[in-house]
Symmetry: C2
Subunit: 510 residues, 2 copies
Amino acid sequence: MLDLHEIELYTDIMGLHGLFEPDKLHKNYELIDERNQIRSKIIPSLEEAVRLSGLKDGMTISFHHHFRNGDYIVNLVLDTLARMGFKDLVVAASSLTDCHAPMIEHIQSGVVRRIETSGLRGKLAQAISNGVMNAPVVFRSHGGRAYAIETDELQIDVAFLGAPSSDAVGNANGYSRENNDKGIMCGAMGYAKCDATYANKTIILTDHIVPYPNAPFGIPESDVDFVVQVDAIGNAEGIMSGATRFTNNPKELLIAQLAADVIEMSGRFENGYSFQMGSGGASLAVAQFLREKMLRNNIKASFALGGITGRVVDLHEEGLVHKLLDVQSFDLIASQSLKNNRYHQQISASYYASPANSGTAVNQLDFTVLSALEVDCDFNVNVLTGSDGVIRGAIGGHPDTACGAAVSIVVVPLTRGRIPCVVQRVNTIVTPGKTVDVVVTEYGVGVNPQRKQLRENLAKAGIPLLTIEQLQQKAESLVGKPEPIRYLDKVVGIVAYRDNTIIDLIHQVQ
Amino acid sequence: MLDLHEIELYTDIMGLHGLFEPDKLHKNYELIDERNQIRSKIIPSLEEAVRLSGLKDGMTISFHHHFRNGDYIVNLVLDTLARMGFKDLVVAASSLTDCHAPMIEHIQSGVVRRIETSGLRGKLAQAISNGVMNAPVVFRSHGGRAYAIETDELQIDVAFLGAPSSDAVGNANGYSRENNDKGIMCGAMGYAKCDATYANKTIILTDHIVPYPNAPFGIPESDVDFVVQVDAIGNAEGIMSGATRFTNNPKELLIAQLAADVIEMSGRFENGYSFQMGSGGASLAVAQFLREKMLRNNIKASFALGGITGRVVDLHEEGLVHKLLDVQSFDLIASQSLKNNRYHQQISASYYASPANSGTAVNQLDFTVLSALEVDCDFNVNVLTGSDGVIRGAIGGHPDTACGAAVSIVVVPLTRGRIPCVVQRVNTIVTPGKTVDVVVTEYGVGVNPQRKQLRENLAKAGIPLLTIEQLQQKAESLVGKPEPIRYLDKVVGIVAYRDNTIIDLIHQVQ
């Protein structure tokens, strides 16, 4: 007779799992209502979902910023957690903005101990720049945040993800098919996808439950633990405009035209090229000028990456851009396109820009056009702190695209009011100069000295070239040297590069 | 002066990562060719990809079975690994079939030490039933395999995944847009998606490199390490037929009609219901009869799950089935639909059936129609071993859908030739009777005694009901009692239930 225990594999499996036990099977027979209950992850209240999530003091919670300045979720959740008595939480938002000012109170009362974010604006940013928090805020790019999450540097205990639609088991989308687009739309949910994949527990908050299956889905139910229905997830006007604004500003248009010329003459403007444009007015104008060049030269782009705007969707629908890869949709046209067009592909923050992934989308880019608060003579870029040293911006995908793209172009006016935007040394380094190839101002174009061939191509094409020092001196001649900012010793922000190293510190302003 | 080391967070980050070092940044400037090289994960040969993967003797390799009996990948890879001198490998295929007979040699020579699979057929199955391997084969359902992978029970070192198309960084699909459908198509790649997510290294083998981005994608490049171009990934005829065959067999049609009647009269046939059909001829006929009932009663299905066939696609395109959730496309019509229709959603094996996920698709089913080799008086089902005790089938999603669906229906002829299909005790338990609700034969319908309400509904509707014992006795009266199978002591197969427990053993045949 065979002794089964002589079979190593059998013994291993028996030791781990044992024999099948039919009594452990629960298959619901008679009660159809009970079965429908089992199918649902809907929890009657946010409080109950929080209890079920196992959230404890000191843990890390996360949010996405796809609702931009119309977000209700962060405030709703923090208010609820404050009422429930939570303390010392780490808030890891993919970004924060003006509407999140109410967080100041939660910082002061001890609900929020630490913040990780791509950016800060408004009153919350000012309060932090003025030292309201004990622990410094950690600022990360979108790719850097994805990397931190993937490598367990940033471990999310509970993700609170607002979604315009979800079915009862948590397949969630940034739009809804069921309400004829009358509800909130945010389009792609690329940052949320990342959190949902890695968070210990994921809670979807939606104002719109739809029938199963909510497919195609942005967030799959397999990443979701609980679904909570709330009255409102956000404010449509704050989330997005109908279509992103095309600039009329002559200075911006000039810069945009120059940037488009730089792209055309760079030596990489050929059929199948790819690009990412920022969302600012100048960037959109670049897309418009590029369009003319594409038509004239019979050149089509293989894909556009973004931050996708309606303008870029138009290029795609016109047949000039083959595919769209979208981590975040900036306007309603882009959201609609994502919803209806399968060549408008939603991607996660990790797929978009994680430095751990050699095939990541930013690495496939030929061109990226980025904005800046200021740029310096080493081509370092600051998008985070203003001329007064106060935090007023967001890193976004800036260092990721600058590093990944073959040609990274920063568009910036020489001055803004009385503030020089090309300086000797930026207040805060966010994107290192080694990854910035071209600076385009209304006075001329500066090319990073390491880009000899690029510089040659542009010179041959008659692009007005100046050294970065000349641009800085021109700015200085117009508005003078910037006042040195007076800081206190306290560190209020740690700026992390994509790879988790520390690239700069932000100090408290006086 | 502030001592930065007094800031705990700063010290933590510095300790882990240190300061940003610009010299570590590699951004390629002048050499466009070198940059295009960097963008690519294409490795010149399979051997080189294997070397880069770090594969060692004793490790676990995996394959999908989306190419069914036209697969070339398993044999190609094993031949290559044999030539390279590898030994003692664990082959974790999502399933294996007739065309994998060449593996026998690799078992005998020691290249392959152990196998995990959903099923075995043909010469390989016979060899294993006859004791060619030392270690037993572990048989898992699709949901059980996903669960084993997710829980690290089955740790895949290198996944070798054939794909009809891939771009240079590994976005892969079960079809190609670039070759006007002249290449191999397999449609959904749900099993492959699971492996790609969890394997330590993932190698895509394709005969068709397409431009970036190959979006929408089945497998995202972020899950892929290497891409290898091969001459042929499979044989189109073996992979799939144009459209799955609709049965003419009168017995099968009768069974199908009865099964459709059972569905209609079950008490759950209402607007928004859902179903999964198997791929056999009888199952397709059930779909056809259901169609008539849906039209007559003005009932539409919310979704169909599968194993999707062209027949079910037709129902969707007719507006009778709202959405399709597809883990595996059974014919070209289904593949085309997946390619072109965004409501035909590709899902991973985990999303499909993992018992770890309460919202998993099988749990949303109202009805599943399953085949069987034999069923017994406890409603246990065998889909794995034949009347001679030899392995000749695959578990597939059988236990997963049976457990998850509100009403699980097994369609089986009372006899096949001289073999009874309703017996006192099945040779091998694959799907436990507790999850099987209805057995439909051409002689009548048996309802699991635990389903009192269901039985009552069917009786009221005039469905010809018999006890399972009566069905067994009828079968016995037709063809006699089955010959007891003569086994040897050696265990050649361990049948794992969805939750990793051991539900049955398969012994060597004499």
